[in-house]
């Protein structure tokens, strides 16, 4: 039996307009095609998980605090704020005293804990008796180098330079408390 298209439609396949012979031809075509090759590709990661980036920004941030040291809590606040355009704007506005109750609150990021550990291990920073994280001379030297290189961490440095000269722990605490 031959239909109007001139194709053999004696075998119905449930697909209008496709006959058995076409299926066979397609099957042959696929069988003849070279096999697909899947090769493993490494994972893409967010840039802020790159070790050089996180250690550098940590040193820059710590250097902005009075005495180059900060509690872990306040470090979290700055770590959170430095990482996106939105949070940077928000944080600067808060510092200006313009805070609105419906705004998102600071998120604590586990990657900071790891970053601090790395910095401690690498001798960039140390933990003081009170538990605060303080820059060591190597970390300070890195921060100074970073400030003098105009091509790196431009956004981050612009943001940090808009903060008050040296941030006190109390000012920050007040900033993030809702009452």
């Amino acid at each position: 039996m031959v239909d109007d298209c001139g194709l053999d439609s004696s075998v119905s396949l449930g697909f209008p307009g496709i006959s058995m012979s076409e299926f066979e031809a397609l099957e042959e075509l696929f069988a003849a095609a070279p096999g697909a090759v899947f090769s493993r590709r490494d994972d893409a990661i967010p840039g802020d998980l790159r070790i050089t980036w996180r250690l550098s920004v940590l040193c820059l941030v710590l250097q902005r605090f009075r005495g180059n040291k900060s509690t872990l809590e306040n470090l979290h606040i700055l770590w959170w704020s430095v990482r996106s355009g939105e949070t940077r704007g928000l944080f600067l506005r808060w510092l200006d005293g313009d805070k609105r109750p419906d705004e998102i609150i600071v998120r604590f990021d586990p990657s900071l804990a790891v970053t601090v550990d790395l910095a401690l291990g690498a001798g960039l920073a140390m933990r003081t008796n009170t538990g605060a994280i303080a820059l060591l001379p190597t970390g300070l030297a890195l921060a100074v180098d970073l400030w003098s290189d105009a091509d790196v961490l431009v956004e981050e440095k612009t943001f940090l330079s808009k903060l008050p000269r040296s941030l006190t722990q109390r000012a920050l605490k007040e900033l993030t408390e809702w009452n």
Binding site: G47, R50, I51, D145
Partner: protein
Amino acid sequence: MELKPRLILRAVRLSVGTAEGEVGRTVVFEQGLNVLRAGNTSGKSTTVQAIIYALGLEGMLSPKREVPLPHSMTDRVTVGGIDQIVVASSVSLEIENASGDIITATRQVKTAGLDSTVISVEFGPAVTDPGNFPTSDFFVRRSGAAQREKGFHFFLSNFLEWKLPQVTYMDGSEKPLYSECLFPFFYVEQKHGWSGLPPRIPTYLGIREVGKRSFEHVLGLDVFQRILMRQRLKSNIAEMEVAWRSVLSELQTIARTAGVTLRGEPRRISDSLDENFPIFTASLAGEWLPIELAIDQLRQAFVERAAQPVRKAEEQSSELEDELQRTEESVRSTLVALSLLMEERGVLADQERQLGLRLDALDEDLQRHKDSALLVRLGAKHVKSLAVDHVCPTCHQDVNDGFDISANVMTADENITFIERQRSTFSAAREDAVRALRSIQVREKSLRVTLAGLRRQVRQARDTLIGPSSAPSLADIAERAALQDQLDRLLENGKSLEIQRNELQSLALRHKEQTELLAGVAKSDLSDSDGEKLDMVERHLRRQLRRYGFDSLRPEDVEINRETYRPGHEGYELGFDLSASDMIRVIWSYLFSVLRVGEEQGGNHLGLLIFDEPKQQETAQESYRQLLHEAAEQGQRGSQIIIATSEERGSLIAMLAGTQYNLVDIPEGEKILAPIQT
């Protein structure tokens, strides 16, 4: 003909510092033939590779980013029979250009704290006659090395007065040809250089027909000029297309204000060749008529109306009621269409905003990866183990980037390309959304205009119907005013529409002319003088093949393929049909022929040829002797030839008898990297 080469290598100095003192050597080259003789594994290749390394050209050998020097320069070196760790190493190359200016380029191989992508240039003969010369740093092996002012290859091409031509890349962009693609004509490396027909031009840089472009540039073929011409025509054509587009959009604006639509609107510039298109049409009583016809009919209608008195409201009432109903129906359906359109616009606007946010986030992330790639340099100074070696300073296990979330992470460079690819996808999607939004806005605006007109009609019909029956029909008056208004607008804008249409046509005509010119240039290939140059290369090739005792084919049957510019036979590239030693003879002959023609006919050949161990595959002694003589003769003509060989000293001197040459002989048993007495 004594022609000064563009580049003369004056001296190269290798130095390696170890805890037990410094080893190294300075090799001084002269113009003409230089033979560097030393035993096997004594460091000849190191010396020659150091020249390439000092010029930052290792990219000609492979896309790898490794230092192309053996481990005696990077890792361990034998000093006085004892293995020593290499503490610091560098190479310096003193070169002279055709104007006699001398510079010395120094590049670190392995020195803590110093970057091997920096080449320090001293403006003087710092190797052969040290002194206090002004110094400047340039970078290599990073993007921009060939185009930015601080890039070494940019500096080098200026120094050599080597104007690197623009070539087309696989992605359609146009950038200068890389120096890495030209050096294979000047240097044959020992390990891979003799295994196939030269030049081995790197293809990983993504330049279209890179082999041909390089050859054309080296010999200054006119074909290159034609390609430039082609590029210029292409850019003219592109400019006209832009102009055409802007005239078309102006025309569309005028048409919109005049209430005129375009029929047969041109899509491509070539559509404008017909002066009758687009046809301007105006709507008259629900029908679209060509503008001239519309103007005539409007005039006529206007005259007819003016001849009759304004009708009274009652005369028109039944007619008006029907019309009111019809118009109200139209208002409703237009409103529906409009609200659908607004909904669609809302969705698209939202999509566009989301894509924008996504792009911002990608940009920020991209910047971080770029930063961290740069930061490795600074990190190397302060936190080397973490930043460079990726080893935890406390537990000494591997700590890779992003180990918090994955064990197999892309390198920063891979990640950058990955994000850039995403970026281009998203920005294409956003452009689409923006385009769709713009077209919706146009449609929306026109619907609103229609709606306002319909509403006015409704109002007037109502006013007339509820007004006193003996009053003049407002609808009738309004209709007259509308007629007058439409007629005025058409008359006013008809002229400027026509002017724009003529402008479109004249652009299209010029565009056609340029396109035809382009087709003409595209077809023609080699000019007469190109043909002569290729004939000469062929003659010199055959002459040398004969001289070196080539016998796989008759030398006169070997030709230079006019398509690929490479040696071939009956249209096929020479290859497997040759004996191994004949292949070597072809390589010698070909590169020397290109050098010879470049020297005689001008072009951009550097006048330099470096062969690292040209005696391969047990080449017959007599062939080798002839090669040395050919090299010496070419050296006499002004070129600089450097041949590194491990040929035994006595037989080498015998073969060189009767020629002028400079022999740098490293005695048997001695290494190139020998202790330096300070």
